[in-house]
């Protein structure tokens, strides 16, 4: 009965490759997010989607493209991977994206770019 799940958990790849991370939530939420946590544990929001519509885009390079096929899924595709993209990426979801609504985080995907 996982609430927010991500695949894969670990991703090791070469510079220049293209990769995707998948996220699914079974909480019935309609807002989903992607966060990046760097090697110093700093957490920063990248994107949020509400009912498949992009709401927040935090000046993330164009190489990052989120895709929301339905409100239960938000995938992250990364083109031309760079060393600096190495991080843990967290998906999260909340109900209606309202202020004060708890965001539920997935277990994270550790991306290592060699």
């Amino acid at each position: 009965d996982t609430a927010v799940s991500q695949t894969p958990k670990y991703l090791v790849t070469q510079m220049g490759n293209d990769k995707s991370i998948k996220c699914e939530q079974n909480l019935g939420h309609d807002t989903m997010y992607w966060y990046k946590q760097d090697s110093k544990k700093f957490l920063k929001i990248m994107f949020s989607y509400n009912n498949k519509e992009l709401i927040i885009n935090e000046t993330v390079p164009n190489r990052f493209s989120p895709k929301s096929p339905d409100k239960a899924h938000l995938n992250l595709h990364i083109n031309s991977l760079e060393l600096g993209d190495s991080a843990v990426y967290f998906c999260a979801s909340s109900l209606q994206g309202l202020i004060g609504n708890e965001q539920f985080f997935g277990p994270g995907t550790r991306l290592t770019v060699l």
Binding site: V4, I99, P107, G108
Partner: protein, 112 residues
């Protein structure tokens, strides 16, 4: 204006002691202040949250103290336990959005 500063970076406490983590913000329009707890290898999880119209909120051993005039808020963990060992993040939300701006995190270690 969009930053949230958190201290200390790391904290070591004896079992049964009080853990105190502090955060400060610049944007007076921030209107929601949650604390998230993250265990190694896991995603962050909401621990407790407060709105700026109250000065304190308590849930079990966890208390948020909020000082609106000083633009500071803090997390107090009473009777700290080894199971509390984790990284704690404060956060704040700008008005009109659900965007979380996180502090830099505090690694808490509670020793028996």
């Amino acid at each position: 204006q969009q930053q949230v500063k958190q201290s200390p970076q790391s904290l070591i406490v004896q079992k049964g002691g009080i853990s105190i983590i502090n955060c400060a913000y610049e944007n007076t329009a921030f209107d929601y202040f949650p604390w998230y707890q993250q265990f190694p290898g896991k995603g962050p999880a909401l621990l407790i949250a407060i709105r700026p119209d109250v000065s304190e909120k308590k849930e079990g051993r966890f208390t948020i103290s909020f000082n609106k005039s000083a633009k500071q808020f803090s997390l107090h963990i009473m009777d700290s336990q080894p199971g509390d060992s984790a990284t704690y993040f404060c956060a704040a939300t700008p008005p009109g959005t659900d965007k979380l701006i996180f502090g830099t995190g505090t690694r808490l270690q509670v020793f028996p």
